[in-house]
Every structure is written in structure tokens, then in C-alpha cells.
């Protein structure tokens, strides 16, 4: 019984905080730690049962801050999610990244979460993670970049701020014998 007033207080309080933020017609960024509690997550799609993906998708933990990037009108009460948050997203990304480590060595890999994001467009939200990746290359020299990765699949969406070496050697390919002749 004692829980009811507290719950009521949280709901009303959340509405007072979030209410004015809804129905925005611009591309904005805000922090709202209460935001996820009122959001509706999509159910896992049927397909997911068939694919081999170890961790189950879960709702964004209550109280977790996710920055909102929004374009167009949206309503937090009716927001739809095109993906959910996989609590193991970081390891999923790491596994994807290190798939190539057998070919080329990397050392001291560090994947540093910078912030969690909800990107909203047309009242549909996508959970993303802003990360910084840094490591030592085979020759011991450092390299780093920033990236957005999908919070569910751990796939890389875009990257930027890559280390700019003054002198860099590129991989080269010998074209001899690689010609594709016109039919």
C-alpha cells in the first residue's frame, strides 16, 4: 500500500518533467534520466528466436541516462523502438571488431562508452551507443576513433575522429593477373 503514493509521485513527476519536451519539431539533444521509464519498447521480433544471438534484448534500465537526438515531432508516450538495448552490446561489438585480429594484431584494445543515445525520427526511436575505440597497432603505434554502434546488434553505424598520421603506408595490391575482361 505504501508504494502507491511513491509510484504516483514518480509518474506525475515524470510527466511534469518530460511532458514539455514532447511534441518537438526540431532536432534537439537533451538528457533525461526519467525518459526510458515512460518509453514503450518493441517486443523482440519473431526472427530473433531463430538467429544465434546470445543475450536477450531488454528494456533500457530504469534511471539510465540516454541522450535524445530527435528530428520531427515525437511523443514520448507513444514512441516506438526499432531496436532494443542488448546489455552485452559492448562485447558484441568487440567480437565483431576482433574477428580480424587473427589477420592483423591489435594490442591493448579499449572500447570506452561515451554516452548512450536514443535517436528519434518520425516518432520511432533507435538506441545507439557513442564509443571511443583505441588500441595499439602491430607496430606499437596508437590508433583511435569514435563511433556510433547499434545498441542491439553492436554493428558499427558510422565513425569519425580517426587518428591522422602524417606519414602512412597503405595496403597495396598487384594488379597483374587480376584483370576482368569484357565478355
Amino acid at each position: 500500500m505504501k508504494r502507491y503514493p511513491l509510484t504516483l509521485f514518480i509518474v506525475i513527476g515524470s510527466f511534469l518533467i518530460i511532458g514539455p519536451l514532447s511534441d518537438q519539431a526540431d532536432y534537439s539533444y537533451r538528457q533525461s534520466k526519467n525518459f526510458p521509464t515512460l518509453s514503450s519498447h518493441k517486443k523482440p521480433v519473431k526472427k530473433e528466436k531463430k538467429v544465434k544471438r546470445a543475450p536477450a534484448s531488454v528494456k533500457t534500465p530504469q534511471g539510465q541516462k540516454r541522450a535524445i537526438i530527435a528530428r520531427g515531432n515525437y511523443d514520448l508516450n507513444t514512441l516506438k523502438y526499432s531496436n532494443s538495448v542488448n546489455p552485452d552490446w559492448k562485447n558484441t561489438y568487440k567480437r565483431r571488431f576482433l574477428k580480424m585480429a587473427a589477420i592483423k594484431k591489435v594490442q591493448s584494445l579499449k572500447i570506452e562508452p561515451i554516452k548512450s543515445i536514443v535517436k528519434i525520427k518520425n516518432n520511432t526511436a533507435r538506441n545507439l551507443e557513442h564509443i571511443k575505440v583505441s588500441y595499439l597497432q602491430e607496430n606499437g603505434d596508437p590508433f583511435s576513433f569514435e563511433a556510433l554502434v547499434d545498441s542491439e546488434t553492436g554493428s558499427l553505424v558510422r565513425s569519425w575522429n580517426k587518428t591522422r598520421y602524417e606519414f602512412k603506408k597503405s595496403i597495396s595490391f598487384n594488379p597483374k593477373g587480376q584483370e576482368l575482361y569484357k565478355e
Binding site: 532536432y27 526472427k47 516506438k80 585480429a101 607496430n139 569519425w160 595496403i171
Partner: protein, 889 residues
């Protein structure tokens, strides 16, 4: 000994004498380096001074040297009163006086944290150097000495840059004519965007003066906010920081980053809620990719100019580059470091595209390298500054004052240009920002980089900053900020002639009326639509022109423009196919580790299927370099090959928009959603595919309406995932960009070109799970139109530096001396091939190709007006190259 060294030596000797006299006047005693630190330290205690080299060892010695010798070359200079080598940044911003808007009032802003600090090396245990009794004097050659010197030169250029930025801001916003809306941030102080940012706050950049690297090198890491000046044990006495021009060059990269991203932080008032608004973009613009491209060459050229801005000499790196390569790097035709015959005479400048691969230290090799190509940029910028020095009126007649003021002018031009091309808000100016103007009518107004949703894609991939785009905007800024404002003596004709001397007059129109769009109604906009007062700009207005200014064709003598129809696939070898397992695996590893998304579809395609037969086989991941032939009589340059999705397919029925995937099929059969599964037909471009082969002819469409082949998407929106009824039901936007590869389909009656989704469904019966990039990888973004062949998003564009007349790129590199030809990652796109494709299946991939000196890739031939940003989602600005191949075992 060359003249510059004689002059510099004299200047520095004089400075040394003055400095010694000044020191003695202030009761300081200059102490010899050889003497103990204690005695020196006592002499300078309380002064905040240290002993520094004002230039590199070659300039100090008056000849090219390979060993640093500072005997009698050091001078005492104020370093800092702080206890460590660290400093906040100070920026002066002018604003109109409250009572009299015609008067500008300065406001000095200081970053709340330090903006850079010096450390010896990258080791976690490295502590900041601490001054003792406020003295920074250390014996020459010690680590401490180099830290102090690195601080001194970094601070010198930082202060100079911020001073120029302040001038630029005041000029374009307050003192200038405002015929074009300024791209420079209006409120640097509120946004703190005069320095590097992270999550909306300025950062403290670490500068390492003795940064261990495997080979002598330097780097700028914008994600770690670090500058690393190399050193290693192979030559323990060689520190990159011994050459201050290298410090200035690297700082140039930092300033490029700052200028490009100044508009990506917004402050103001939200017109919809009337609340204070602040937005810092999560991601940022870069000038150049990791591998070769013209944006990277611009970055290097601008960084070289920053060295000239500081030292006013015709070459840079007289010590470090001379030591590494045997020559300094020239930034002017007047340098004695050239190994070819160039001069400032008409027709003898270092021009584009002829000298794109010019490396004075290695003439025999044709190497595509950003430094080589950037040399043209640096030469042009230096030549322009010299022209301004000789033609403009300045308050002072002193050479150093004139150099400084003309340097401010160039900085203004660079800042305006980089602010516009790097703008991820896609506004192009604060005059079109709803938050700066507090006007919600501006919510959907965009003047650069398409729109806020796709601005990153546009500025980095689809319409990246090549020489043509950069110098068109740069020239527009010369016209409005120099020729009809700061320096009328430097006329528009002279500007065009100088650009042309460098082969950089690559455009027809200055596009000075603007070319924007209001997505709220899809209205085309010009700057003139926004003439008048703006509340947040203290009632200062912009007075834009109504019509575009066009280039005087009499001034175009060296800059050759070529029609896009002059590029085509070679008629014998259409491409080079790289499918060796180890090579492609290495390429994928390299790209992955550089942060590119080149992940392949596990179990459907992968390098384990690669068979090294130089054919495109089921399951393989292959590198493709199109063998493009230049059939014109001139060299074409900056050839860009795009393999990303674009608007080239027609949604057959707009009432049936759902992506062909199991959730939608189930949803339609259960009645959760209504409509139908989408099918797409290819639009006809350059008569392919014919109507009889399934093509839709835009000419046959009676109206230009959304969904038609004659209509280009205004938003580049792709798959809409907003419909959720139990499951998400993704559907295509009516003009969604589509993957580039079509498949040939034959039935009893005809042979047609169809979408991959159609083929996998009706010819192969392939399920979603057997598609490339299926939903286990891509979630709701899964597009079955790339079920069979997919260009990997992290390797979907390629660059060929230049192609000589009547040659292919490989023949160009080979040259007349039969150089060996190698391809690098910048020349190659990578595709994955579904393992279920039956051998014998034919594909046609519609790559889009353009080049920088193209006459009809950037503007409409009828009007010479530039294409609007959205048109880069279509075919018009490109030559569509139909790359056909058969999948073979």
C-alpha cells in the same frame, strides 16, 4: 647559401642581440647552456622565462643541417607564469554596442579549462613538468628543454590563430558588407566553438614533445585530443619538435578540425518552447579520409600554409623534412627546393592536375599521396597571400605587419569555407538557424550538406570536399570578403586569373545567390528569401544578390573542364578483381581497425570462399577497381567512384511499400497491416536498361511527382521503421535510395533487369535468412534488394587521383617510364557475393562516377546553376557506369 637563410640568420642574430640587451636591462643574466642548471635557474627565477629556439636548426645555422646545434642560438622568452606547461585559450569576440550598434565592443573569453598542455611522452606515468621558482630554463637537448620549446611554439601559433579567428568573426559579422550570410559562428563565446570540443565542453589537448613512434612520424588524434611529435631510439638526438614548422603544420590540422566543426555546436532559444537551447553534435566532420582523397590533400595543403603563416618563408621543414627526405617542402614557386622548372610566371605555376603527384624528393615515382597533392593547395594559398600583400592597402608598411594582416585575410577565407563545408546542422549560416533567429519557420531550412539527418553522409561520402567544391566556395568568399570589401585592389578578375594559374578555376558559377531548400513544402530557396533584419543579430541584415555571379570565361586558360561523358569503362579490361584470400582479409582487417564497417555476412559470404581466380565467385568478398578510361584530350582528376545506395529505382506501387520480409508477409496475411510487399523497377539512365528489358523511362512520365523516375528524393530517407503493430513493419520511403546492383532475369518470354529481391524471390526462392546483411546483422534496416551482392558500406567509394588523356588510371601511374603499378585501398570498393548465387547469374552494378574538373557534374548545363544538394542522390551529377559481370565458380 640561399637568400632566405641569409635573411633569416641576420634577423635572428639581431633578435638574439636585442634579447640579450633586453635581458640585461631587466637585471637578468643570460647563462651559458653548459653551466649548471642551478645557476641558470637562479638567474631566471621569478620571470616565467625559458630558453627557446626561434626557428629550426637549418634556419638557425644558415644552411641545411642534419644535426641540431643550439650553441649561441637560444633566446630567453616568456613561457608562462603557471607552474606547469599549460594554458587556457583566450578568445576575443566583438559584438555590437547595446546603445550604438555601429560600434563593436570586445569581450575577452577564456576557456574554463586549459586548452592544451605539454607532456614529455604518452606513458601513463609521465608527469607534467613543474617549474621551480617560475623559471623554465633547461639545458639544450634535454627532454625538459624540448617540452618548454614545444609549449612556446604551440602557444605562439595558438595565440596567432585565435587572433585571426577573432578578426574573421568581427569582419564577416560586424564590419563587412554581408552580401552573403556568414558561415562563421555568430556566437563563439556561448558555444566555445573556437576550440576543440567533447560533449559540449572544450578539451585540454595533450601535446607530447618526445612521443615514441615506431618510425619518425607525428599524429593528431582528434578522439583522444592528442598531438604526438615523434621520436625513437634509431636517432636519439632527432626530435620532430626541433623543427617548429612541423609543430605549426600539425597545429594546422587541429585548426582545420576546429574551423570545420564550429557550426556543429548550437546555442540559442528554441522558438517552439521559448527555452534556452544548446546542442552539441555527437559526431564531427573530418577533412579527408585515412587514405588518399582530395579532402586529405586540402588538409595537408592548409596545414603547410599555417607554417608559412608563422614563418613567412618559401619552404617548410628545412630541418625535419630535409633530414627525412633530403629536401624541405616548398610552399612557393620561389623556393629553391623545387626539382622541376616552376616559376611565378604565367603558365609556370605548380598547377592542378598536372602536379598532383609531384614530390620534389622523388620525381620518378607517380605516387598518390595527400602531401604531394596538397603542395598545389599550399602554393596557391601562399601565392594568394603574396598577391594580397602586394596589392592591398594596409595601415602599416612593415613587412611583418603586412604578413600578419594578409594572413588574417587568408584565415578569414579558410574559416568561412571550412565552416560551410563542415556544417552538420546543414544550415550553412546562423542566419538560417531557428535557434539563432528564434523563428520556427526556419526549422527545415537547409543550405548545405542536404539536411541534418544525412549531412554526415553528404559531406564525407556523397558530395565530399574535393578541390572543385572547396575552391568554388573559397572563391565566393574572396569575391565578397576581399574583392568587394577588404581589398578592392584585388579584383575578381585577378582572383580568377590566379585560381586559373593553378588550374583551380573549376567552376562556372559562384553560386552566391545560395541554393537551399525548405523541406516543409520542398521549396527551393535562395539567400534573398532571407534578406532583412534578424533579431539575434542586433538588427543587422544580409543583403544578398538576386542572380548568381558567373566566371569570366576569358580568365579560364589553364583550368580545363571535361564532360562526364568522356569517362567510360575500358573496352577490354572492365575492372581489376582482387580476390586473393590473404589480400582481402588484410584489407578488411585494415578497414575494420580504421573504424570502417566492412563486416561480411557470416555463413553467407566471407573471405573463406575466396578462390584467387580473379573472377567474382559465389561467397567471395572481392575488391573491385573499375578500369576507367579517359577518352578526352585532357587529364581528368579527383575521379570519385560511388557504390552507395541512390535513387535509381521506382517503387512500382506506392500503396504497396512494405519490405519483403517475413514480418511483413505475416502482418499482411493477419491483417495487422494493409497494403502490399514492395517491388522496384530500374529507372532508365543513358538508355539502360531498355524498356523492353524492364526499365522505366523518366521521359515517359507525364508529371514530376514523388515516386517517379524523374523525381529525386529530397530527403534521402530509406527504410521507414515507424510502423509497429506487434512487430515492426519496415517499409520503403517512396523515393528511397536503393542498392546499386541489378540482376538479369529470364523467363519464357523475355530477359529483363530486376531487383535482387525480385530475383531471390522468383528465381531462387531464397529466404530472408539466406540473404546478405539479413536481419540478424542489420535488424530492421535489412533491405533484400542487396540480398545477393552488396557493396560493403565501409568500402563503398574509391578515388583515382588522376587519369591522363586517352589512358586508364593504371596506365597513368605506369607513366612513360614503365613504373610498377600497385593499387591501394583508396582505389578499391569491396563487395560481398552471396554463396547461394547460381554460377552464370549476371549482374549490372550502377556505380556513379564524377571528377573534380568535370564541366557537367556540378551544375546544370542550361543555366550553369549548381545542383542542389538533394540532386546528388540521383544520376544527373554523375556518369552512371554500368559494371556488368557474371558470377562464376
Amino acid at each position: 647559401m640561399s637568400e632566405w637563410i641569409r635573411r633569416t640568420t641576420f634577423k635572428h642574430t639581431a633578435l638574439l642581440i636585442v634579447s640579450l640587451v633586453a635581458a640585461s636591462c631587466n637585471n637578468f643574466t643570460q647563462v651559458d647552456d653548459a653551466q649548471s642548471r642551478n645557476r641558470t635557474y637562479v638567474s631566471y627565477s621569478g620571470t616565467g622565462k625559458g630558453k627557446v629556439y626561434l626557428s629550426n636548426p637549418s634556419v638557425l645555422a644558415g644552411k641545411y643541417v642534419t644535426r641540431a646545434n643550439y650553441d649561441d642560438k637560444l633566446v630567453a622568452k616568456f613561457i608562462t607564469d603557471e607552474s606547469t606547461l599549460t594554458t587556457p585559450c583566450v578568445f576575443t569576440q566583438y559584438s555590437p554596442d547595446f546603445f550604438d550598434a555601429s560600434v563593436s565592443v570586445p569581450y575577452e573569453d577564456t576557456t574554463s579549462t586549459d586548452c592544451f598542455n605539454i607532456l614529455n611522452d604518452r606513458s601513463a606515468s609521465t608527469d607534467a613538468l613543474v617549474s621551480s621558482n617560475n623559471s623554465w630554463v633547461y639545458s639544450a637537448g634535454t627532454d625538459e628543454f624540448y617540452q618548454v620549446n614545444t609549449y612556446y611554439h604551440t602557444k605562439q601559433i595558438m595565440d596567432r590563430f585565435l587572433s585571426s579567428l577573432s578578426f574573421s568573426h568581427k569582419q564577416v559579422h560586424l564590419d563587412g558588407n554581408r552580401y552573403i550570410p556568414p558561415a562563421t559562428k555568430y556566437n563563439f563565446v556561448d558555444t566555445q566553438s573556437y576550440w576543440l570540443h567533447e560533449n559540449g565542453s572544450t578539451v585540454n589537448m595533450d601535446v607530447f614533445s618526445k612521443c615514441y613512434l615506431s618510425s619518425m612520424n607525428a599524429f593528431f588524434s582528434p578522439s583522444d585530443n592528442q598531438l604526438c611529435f615523434g621520436w625513437n631510439e634509431s636517432d636519439e638526438d632527432f626530435f620532430i619538435v626541433q623543427d617548429p614548422t612541423v609543430i605549426y603544420h600539425e597545429m594546422g590540422h587541429v585548426f582545420v578540425k576546429v574551423m570545420m566543426n564550429q557550426r556543429n555546436i548550437t546555442s540559442g532559444v528554441d522558438p517552439n518552447s521559448s527555452s534556452i537551447y544548446y546542442d552539441s553534435k555527437t559526431f564531427s566532420s573530418d577533412l579527408g579520409d585515412i587514405s588518399y582523397d582530395e579532402a586529405g590533400a586540402l588538409n595537408e595543403g592548409i596545414a603547410d600554409w599555417f607554417s608559412y603563416y608563422m614563418v613567412n618563408r618559401d619552404q617548410i621543414g628545412e630541418y625535419a623534412l630535409y633530414k627525412l627526405q633530403g629536401l624541405a617542402r616548398p610552399v612557393s614557386e620561389e623556393s629553391d627546393q623545387h626539382t622541376i622548372s616552376v616559376s611565378t610566371e604565367t603558365g609556370e605555376r605548380l598547377s592542378y592536375p598536372q602536379y598532383l603527384q609531384y614530390n620534389p624528393a622523388s620525381l620518378s615515382e607517380n605516387v598518390e599521396d595527400v602531401h604531394n597533392a596538397g603542395t598545389i593547395v599550399a602554393h596557391y594559398l601562399v601565392a594568394l597571400q603574396k598577391e594580397l600583400k602586394s596589392s592591398c592597402s594596409f595601415e602599416s608598411t612593415k613587412e611583418e605587419d603586412i604578413h600578419a594582416k594578409s594572413g588574417d585575410y587568408i584565415m578569414l577565407l579558410l574559416n568561412e569555407t571550412l565552416a560551410e563545408v563542415g556544417d552538420l546542422t546543414a544550415k550553412g549560416s546562423d542566419f538560417f538557424s531557428q535557434y539563432a533567429t528564434v523563428d520556427s519557420d526556419y526549422n527545415d531550412v537547409y543550405f548545405t550538406n542536404l539536411n541534418e539527418e544525412h549531412s554526415f553522409l553528404w559531406t564525407q561520402k556523397v558530395n565530399p570536399i574535393n578541390f572543385r567544391r572547396f575552391f568554388r566556395i573559397f572563391a565566393k568568399n574572396i569575391l565578397y570578403h576581399i574583392s568587394i570589401d577588404l581589398c578592392p585592389e584585388f579584383t575578381l578578375d585577378e582572383s580568377e586569373q590566379l585560381l586559373d594559374e593553378y588550374g583551380l578555376l573549376l567552376f562556372n558559377s559562384y553560386e552566391d545567390r545560395g541554393n537551399g531548400i525548405d523541406l516543409d513544402g520542398n521549396l527551393s530557396l535562395s539567400y534573398f528569401s532571407f534578406a532583412g533584419d534578424h533579431q539575434l543579430f542586433s538588427n543587422r541584415d544580409i543583403s544578398p544578390v538576386v542572380l548568381n555571379t558567373f566566371v569570366n570565361e576569358d580568365n579560364r586558360r589553364n583550368s580545363v573542364l571535361i564532360s562526364k561523358n568522356q569517362i567510360e569503362l575500358d573496352d577490354q579490361i572492365t575492372a581489376y578483381v582482387f580476390d586473393k584470400q590473404t589480400n582481402i582479409a588484410s584489407l578488411l582487417a585494415q578497414l575494420t581497425f580504421e573504424g570502417e564497417n566492412v563486416e561480411t555476412t557470416e555463413g553467407i559470404a566471407g573471405t573463406e570462399y575466396n578462390n584467387s581466380n580473379a573472377k567474382i565467385s559465389p561467397g567471395e568478398v572481392v575488391g573491385i577497381s573499375l578500369n576507367l578510361y579517359n577518352k578526352s584530350n585532357s587529364t581528368m582528376a579527383g575521379v570519385q567512384i560511388l557504390g552507395n545506395d541512390w535513387d535509381h529505382m521506382k517503387l512500382s506501387d506506392s500503396s504497396m511499400p512494405y519490405v519483403n520480409r517475413i514480418e511483413n508477409i505475416n502482418g499482411l496475411s493477419s491483417g495487422d497491416i494493409s497494403g502490399g510487399i514492395a517491388t522496384h523497377s530500374p529507372c532508365i539512365f543513358d538508355n539502360f536498361p531498355k524498356e523492353s528489358e524492364g526499365g522505366v523511362d523518366p521521359e515517359d512520365e507525364s508529371t514530376t511527382a514523388a515516386g517517379n523516375c524523374n523525381y529525386i528524393t529530397k530527403t534521402n530517407d530509406s527504410i521507414d521503421t515507424s510502423e509497429v503493430v506487434t512487430d515492426t513493419h519496415p517499409k520503403y520511403d517512396v523515393d528511397s535510395p536503393q542498392p546499386i546492383c541489378l540482376v538479369q532475369y529470364s523467363d519464357e518470354d523475355e530477359t529483363t533487369w530486376v531487383s535482387q529481391d525480385f530475383y531471390r524471390k522468383y528465381s531462387m526462392g531464397l529466404e530472408d535468412k539466406d540473404c546478405i546483411n539479413n536481419s540478424s546483422m542489420s535488424g530492421n534496416e535489412f533491405n533484400p534488394n542487396s540480398c545477393l551482392i552488396r557493396i560493403l558500406p565501409g568500402a563503398e567509394h574509391a578515388i583515382l587521383g588522376k587519369i591522363d588523356s586517352r589512358k586508364t588510371w593504371a596506365e597513368t601511374i605506369q607513366g612513360e617510364t614503365n613504373n610498377s603499378v600497385t593499387f591501394s585501398q583508396s582505389n578499391i570498393v569491396v563487395m560481398e557475393v552471396n554463396k547461394w548465387i547460381p554460377p552464370g547469374t549476371k549482374f549490372n552494378c550502377r556505380f556513379r562516377v564524377r571528377f573534380s574538373n568535370c564541366s557537367d557534374c556540378y551544375s546544370e548545363s542550361a543555366t550553369d546553376d549548381e545542383y542542389a544538394d538533394f540532386e546528388y542522390a540521383g544520376a544527373e551529377p554523375f556518369k552512371v557506369i554500368n559494371f556488368q559481370f557474371e558470377v562464376l565458380d
